[in-house]
């Protein structure tokens, strides 16, 4: 069978051409003259973004200074060596270079739960093929009981201070931590919005409490406090068994189960290190603000409808009586 002219086994093709190609590859890495004289001339070229019909329609308006090269364009880290594809991992991260790959809810990273809206209905525990999710309880503030402004407290809060119950005090510097804190790079549990304490005894407007973190007992005025409760929430996730399939996220009826973008902080030495507790899998509501707000609005409407029905039933009962 005839060989391609470049493939005929002669001295030129077998020895001279490969050696010249290798020499040029080596010379290309010399800092100044390399990229100028020996560059292969096709890495990181501007890719033709629009298809032909669109180009004829709107003309080839390039997108200003944003150069999109279909090849992954990286490594400004080592100037003299042009590496169009490799990401120098600890120094460069993929989500900085290609943000469209890490749209917040489109990436199957570590599991994250917005505890505020989780009602521990165990749908995710049943949905998981590998049985990684395990129930666990956590002291938390019932979000509906926290009216932003006193006047619109529609009397929805159903939990009051009770002896043996819990109360929470808002820690004030939470707002700015919440926006700057990024779980991917901090690799430790997210900051808490409240400090929780166990109520020992109630007397009028003051109560003696024992703070759960520090363990100190203190008597505290109930004015600025918010009632909290011990709730069963799904939390202990065995990441050693998890295969990041995302079925739990889809099965959550209350839209409070998300897959975060974190892919590298989850290693451990023993299997038990891979057990993640409620704090480690917390996702701050601010990350999925719209989903959380939609969910809260839905629940608030359901609660209000329930109240009206109860009121209507009560009024009907009182009419008959």
């Amino acid at each position: 069978m005839a060989y391609h002219p470049r493939a005929t086994p002669n001295f030129r093709n077998l020895v001279v051409r490969p050696m010249w190609i290798t020499l040029r590859a080596g010379l290309r890495t010399i800092p100044v003259i390399g990229p100028r004289f020996f560059s292969s001339g096709y890495h990181g070229k501007q890719a033709q973004m629009l298809d032909d019909e669109t180009i004829n329609r709107i003309g080839d308006n390039d997108s200003g200074d944003i150069i999109y090269a279909a090849d992954r364009e990286t490594s400004h880290f080592v100037k003299s060596i042009s590496r169009p594809v490799t990401i120098m991992y600890p120094y460069e991260r993929l989500e900085d270079l290609e943000p469209w790959l890490f749209v917040p809810n489109n990436y199957n990273g570590r599991i994250g739960v917005v505890w505020e809206t989780c009602t521990a209905c165990k749908a995710c525990v049943r949905a998981c093929p590998n049985d990684c999710l395990h129930m666990e309880s956590e002291v938390r503030v019932n979000v509906l009981d926290m009216p932003d402004a006193p006047e619109d407290d529609a009397g929805l809060s159903s939990v009051e201070f009770v002896e043996g119950g819990y109360l929470a005090r808002k820690n004030d510097d939470f707002e700015e931590i919440e926006n700057t804190f990024s779980l991917e790079t901090a690799h430790e549990s997210a900051p808490q919005q409240y400090d929780f304490a166990e109520i020992i005894d109630l007397s009028g407007t003051t109560a003696s409490v024992r703070w759960t973190d520090s363990g100190k007992t203190e008597s505290v005025d109930l004015e600025g406090m918010i009632p909290a409760e011990q709730d069963i929430v799904s939390g202990r996730i065995d990441l050693g068994r998890c295969m990041f399939c995302g079925l739990c996220m889809e099965s959550c009826p209350f839209n409070s189960f998300f897959m975060t973008n974190e892919y590298d902080g989850m290693s451990g030495i023993t299997r038990d290190d891979l057990w993640m507790d409620a704090a480690r899998t917390r996702v701050l509501p601010v990350v999925h603000k719209e989903a959380v707000d939609r969910e809260l609005a839905k629940r608030a409407d359901k609660e209000r409808a329930k109240r009206e029905r109860a009121a209507k039933k009560a009024s009907k009962a009182s009419k008959e009586a």
Binding site: H4, F11, R12, L14, V15, L23, G26, S82
Partner: protein
């Protein structure tokens, strides 16, 4: 003349041993013994010096290979700098000196603390400091990556060696020592400079080629003794290849001896440097010989494209597989020592030994002559020899990076059917040159010029035979023409 410069190691060693013998045994009643004793201890010291020089010289090629191959593959290779001794990696500093007994480590701790505080923390690259990798490419003049060689050596020395269960114990243990000892013996007669050599017998060339040829025996022993079918096949292939390339090598070296009229390596080098004798480098007199020598040496040292026995997809590591720990370290060191020996021999035989190119004409230049004269006085001539050897090793790396690995039967066929006749032709040429053209004094310059021009023309003709019109029409070997394919392709024009 290049021969005599200040770096006269042998003279100094002889003087020192003589003085010590005079002052010690010369004073006693056995004073007659001081003569042979000083000569013996001088030779003994020179052997030690040559061993140290060789070990330092072999560090060059090992480091060069690692860095150049990395550079060809667009990364920097190992960048561990000397600074990593005291900086540690990623904010973690191992205080190893605390484990030393009897508090020996304490002063080392002080020095380390001082270096850590003054020269350890910052790096010019912001990303490097962010990640805390301080040993990343320290100062360039500290040869980043050189420390890896010492790290590798200690790893080989420490690693446990597990001989295969029912290997043939005796031959298994003997094989690596045959290889490493013959390789080191080769350096006994390689002169690093006019007065830097361990021994200088008259027939040093014949001895050199004999000791160089013993390695295939060790290789075959290693292949056979490790009781592993793959290593047996690898050992056989390697022995066949080495013997196949031994004969053209010997015939080419014979051509050199004939041209220089001696069988002593130092005299060959002198012949090329001495203005009264030959004063023309042999590479210009026998370019074909130089090419043959390089090819056979690459095969002799088992480097790509001739390293079939050692690394084939289905042979895994060839005859090296069953060795580990220090035995593998010795084999690894012997591979690079043999490569260094090959480069030194090439520069001695063809590139005029330890003479700087055009040394005499540079000194004779009108204006700058003086500067060159001073330079050649100050720098010891062994440095030029080492420079040439490392350049030849650079060529070896370039060959390794670009050529395909050739199959065993193709290697043997190429060895027997092409190299052997060519080397015999080369021998005939050198005999004709020596007897017919040479008349005692320096070569008439027209002879090397003519030979070099003919060689270059031949090479260019060999390279440029390109079939232009076939290339233009991109004739492909396969015959999948677009069999009346539906024409979705037409919608995407591939040519742009």
């Amino acid at each position: 003349m290049a021969a005599d410069d200040w770096f006269d190691v042998r003279g100094a060693v002889a003087w020192v041993t003589e003085q010590t013998m005079d002052k010690t045994i010369g004073m006693t009643r056995f004073w007659e013994q001081k003569y042979w004793l000083s000569e013996f201890s001088a030779e003994f010291a020179m052997a030690g010096i040559i061993f140290v020089v060789t070990m330092l010289a072999v560090l060059g090629p090992v480091w060069m290979e690692r860095k150049l191959i990395a550079r060809l593959m667009d990364h920097r290779g190992s960048t561990i700098a000397i600074r990593s001794l005291w900086t540690g990696e990623g904010n973690i500093r191992v205080e190893w000196w605390k484990d030393l007994p009897f508090g020996i480590g304490v002063p080392i701790g002080w020095i380390n603390g001082f270096l850590w505080n003054n020269f350890g923390n910052e790096s010019s690259n912001p990303k490097v400091t962010q990640v805390g990798n301080r040993s990343y490419a320290g100062w360039w003049w500290a040869l980043p990556g050189m420390i890896n060689n010492f790290a590798d050596f200690t790893k080989f020395a420490i690693k446990e060696h597990m001989p295969p269960r029912d290997a043939d114990q005796v031959t298994y243990e003997v094989a690596p020592f045959i290889i490493i000892s013959t390789t080191l013996l080769v350096f006994a007669f390689i002169p690093y400079g006019p007065s830097l050599y361990a021994a200088n017998p008259d027939l040093s060339l014949v001895y050199m080629m004999a000791i160089f040829g013993i390695a295939p025996l060790g290789v075959f022993f290693a292949g056979w003794a490790s009781n592993n079918k793959y290593t047996l096949i690898g050992g056989m292939r390697s022995a066949a290849q080495l013997t196949a390339y031994e004969i053209p090598l010997l015939v080419t070296v014979l051509g050199i001896a004939v041209l220089s009229g001696t069988l002593n390596i130092i005299e060959i080098a002198e012949f090329q440097m001495n203005n009264t004798l030959g004063s023309v480098w042999n590479i210009f007199l026998m370019p074909l010989g130089a090419a043959l020598f390089l090819i056979t040496m690459i095969a002799e040292v088992e480097r790509t494209p001739f390293d079939m026995p050692e690394a084939e997809a289905e042979l895994v590591e060839g005859w090296w597989t069953e060795y580990g720990g220090m035995r593998w370290g010795l084999l690894f060191a012997s591979e690079y020592l043999r490569a260094l020996a090959a480069c030194l021999l090439f520069s001695l035989f063809f590139l005029g030994g330890w003479e700087f190119p055009f040394e005499d004409s540079l000194i004779a230049l009108p204006l700058v002559g003086g500067i060159f004269g001073a330079l050649f006085q100050v720098v010891p001539h062994s440095a030029w020899l080492l420079m040439k050897a490392w350049l030849v090793f650079g060529f070896f790396i370039w060959v390794r990076a670009s050529l395909h690995r050739v199959r065993t039967d193709q290697i043997l066929e190429f060895g027997w059917r092409y190299l052997l006749p060519l080397s015999v032709i080369q021998l005939g040429l050198s005999i004709w040159l020596r007897l017919g053209v040479y008349d005692g004094g320096p070569w008439p310059l027209v002879v090397p010029a003519l030979i070099t021009v003919v060689a270059v023309v031949l090479f260019v003709v060999l390279v440029l035979d390109e079939d232009e019109e076939a290339l233009a029409e991109q004739r492909r070997p396969y015959h999948v023409s677009e069999i009346n394919k539906a024409s979705p392709g037409a919608r995407i024009n591939l040519e742009d």
